[in-house]
Symmetry: C2
Subunit: 455 residues, 2 copies
């Protein structure tokens, strides 16, 4: 703790000086953090054992109205300068972006011996290992509860609450935008593009929605959760990532009639590959979720994570996946943890539950040998022989069919929908069947394959 005038303002309760923070990035989350530390100041001081005090703030545009009074706080035009301030114990990075100013600030904060709290999933997914290693070397805390699943304390749940368990599988709904779009398509029967536009208008989707709808945001979060759950180094690059933009209203109707809803699911599992090599399987993709699964009732911009531990059994964490209030709640929870413990250095090695050098380098597990049931949707020309061609390919690839539904006209160009649900087969067999069908004049466009989420 640096010795400054602030130390005069000791907490009446504990005699400890306030925890002093610098806040970089004053978007909705940054403004939310300021509102929260002001609104709940007394309660936070009681729980943290000392007040949490904003010393300085920084953002691109000083003049912008953010609905909060910034005049009590020092303003820094150069956010990196905050890392060097004597009146700052923790730098809160809410700028966003995997590299650039956020990363420069994060590194500088740690190098100056400040604790780092961030909501930046992209930065942690790409640079989390390097940052955690620097934080360990400096003996400062690095925390990122707000980077995954908004206000849900799932990182704490994994890192501490489920710490006694070997995690067998982890899966969840990690992107509120996709979940809002899919559950709205389900409720209204409308098409993807239309619902996306509406989500953009309502502020549930960004103007450039690529990171969300292509599954990249969920993959960032999944790779962070995987590292903690499996004691492995973050491996964002190995997440098999598919988005939701190819899903048709007809897929949702079809799934519904079979007893499923469609959700973008991130799933991670320790998996001995076909040759027995231990590895880690990570995937973000739309899945068919049986109505009796815990995740089937997660609608709107909600997030939910299921952790299957070898002693705990199945744990579900659910709540708001984004928004200023929930995200600020997670940021300030991290600050309270640091306020409770930072003088002792206790927090320093805890970013990923295990010090970085103790995290395993787990090889990415391939998907081909994985057994599962799949939903395969074809758009086909409406002419005789198409079904025979498809079912022959399935037979030749060893894919056993549980049900096949051919529906009437689906699109203006006269294509019709054929949807197949397979029995449990290796994913490679499904891939082989599609290879056999490649180039067939019967098919209109690429088939869409979605796995059915297993119990």
């Amino acid at each position: 703790m640096t010795d400054t005038a602030d130390n005069a303002a000791l907490s009446p309760q504990s005699g400890k000086p306030p925890l002093r923070i610098a806040l970089a990035g004053l978007g909705t989350v940054g403004a939310g953090v300021i509102r929260l530390v002001e609104a709940n100041a007394d309660l936070i001081a009681r729980r943290a054992g000392r007040p949490i005090k904003v010393s300085a703030v920084s953002a691109r545009d000083r003049g912008k109205d953010r609905g909060v009074d910034l005049s009590p706080y020092a303003w820094e035009d150069d956010m990196t300068a905050m890392a060097a301030r004597d009146d700052v114990d923790v730098v809160v990075e809410l700028v966003g972006g995997s590299d650039g100013p956020a990363l420069v600030l994060a590194r500088n904060a740690i190098r100056h011996g400040k604790a780092l709290v961030t909501a930046n999933k992209a930065m942690i997914a790409h640079h989390g290992m390097a940052l955690a290693k620097e934080a360990e070397a400096q003996g400062v805390a690095m925390r990122f509860e707000a980077a995954v699943a908004g206000g849900i304390p799932v990182i704490k749940g994994l890192r501490e609450g489920a710490a006694a368990n070997r995690v067998e599988r982890l899966y969840g709904i990690l992107n509120g935008t996709c979940n809002y779009i899919l559950s709205t398509m389900e409720d209204t029967g409308r098409d993807f593009a239309e619902v996306l536009s509406e989500a953009q208008a309502k502020g549930y989707a960004e103007a450039d929605p690529t990171f969300d709808i292509e599954g990249i945001d969920a993959a960032h979060k999944l790779s962070i959760l995987s590292a903690i759950a499996f004691g492995a180094k973050i491996d964002f690059g190995s997440v098999d990532t598919q988005g939701i933009s190819r899903i048709l209203a007809a897929d949702i109707a079809q799934a519904d009639s079979l007893g499923y809803c469609i959700r973008l699911i991130g799933t991670a599992e320790a998996d001995a590959g076909p040759d027995g090599t231990p590895g880690l399987f990570q995937r973000v993709a739309p899945h068919l979720v049986p109505f009796d699964n815990l995740l089937a009732h997660v609608d709107g911009p909600t997030n939910a994570v299921v952790v299957e531990g070898n002693f705990s059994g199945r744990l579900l964490f659910q709540g708001a996946g984004a928004g200023d209030g929930p995200t600020a709640s997670a940021v300030v929870a991290d600050l309270i943890d640091i306020a409770r413990g930072m003088d002792t250095g206790f927090e320093a090695d805890m970013a990923f539950s295990i010090p970085v050098d103790g995290l395993e380098d787990m090889a990415p597990a391939p998907a081909g040998h994985r057994l599962g049931r799949a939903y395969i949707r074809f758009l086909v020309a409406d002419r005789p022989g198409v079904l025979a061609e498809i079912t022959a390919a399935m037979r030749d690839a060893g894919v056993s069919i549980e049900s096949l539904i051919q529906k009437g006209q689906a699109s203006k160009d006269g294509a019709v929908i054929v949807a197949i649900v397979t029995h449990e087969v290796p994913e490679a067999a499904v891939a082989k069947a599609l290879t056999l069908l490649e180039g067939s004049p019967s098919l209109v466009g690429q088939p869409l394959v979605m796995q059915i989420l297993g119990a």
Copy 2:
């Protein structure tokens, strides 16, 4: 850390000595803890920064086969003696019972400067404040994650994950036995007594099920959660507690037809009473839960807790509420926390998030002024004029009726069921209506009132 021969066995990773525990009580949970620390030993050592090692065990019957090999561990006939052992850092109390040997052991452990980990909800509900105060004075940790909701890290979720929030309401399903009975009655249409017998045969209910079915166990847990959520002293005595034994198969059918299931819900809310006095309302009672509520899909012996924070919004924690594996998972999570931090004394004041002297004495809030919709079920004699009598009493008490259903014959003595759902009214008005009907020859037995869980 006491200086003993064990310090020679340093953890290769951190150089820290093992955390040494004494285990009192070797029922299913105690045996589960031993299985867990053995099965996941490597992983626990990686996450805790040092091994967790059982030094001594104690139980009533040394000879009993518990499916685990106890020979590596010192046996104490007198469990209290474990508190004084030099080779013990933490006493794990799994004996049960609010007083008696469990309490003697807990006090002795703390007085000897040992950390205390317990799964004993009754002891914490009755003596948690006194024990936490002694633990603070001694500077030792006291933890009880396993006392509430089995393997679900909900105490951690409240105390740390949601720490930044003013909790507005907390509610949940806190007793797996009741939830199993109610969801089985729902699935099978059978009566309470029959399903209870089956639950006893399957081991989901005790031979003496009173604590479970009368809501006392859930009230223990609720009072513990309330203290943490609202920063208040535990006040188990003020929990308005009703059980599930009066619920008929017909109530469940009736609720179902109206769009509700019936669940035993513990609910706590900071509540300014009718005169504006701040207070804490705590109740355990069967409620009608709308099908679209998060808790309506919680079936079988599962527990679930919803925390509504003023910034986080609604957080849901769900999982197995009992059983050896889940409960052991919570016990060992507490041990890992202590292993990570106990050398620093950081854990000492954290039992209830705020030191005991900082917890508020919140007055119990009365129920009468609380607004809600209620389900009132009468058993009535099948004769003319009964409905007029009931509806007149409702009118005179100011209770507005949303729906009234009279069903055919319900019991062998010719009584029929009349079920009323009220509009939103003060609870006192419902009570007054029932007072007006008291002693009426039309009524067979006491009416049953259940509140409808509000959004």
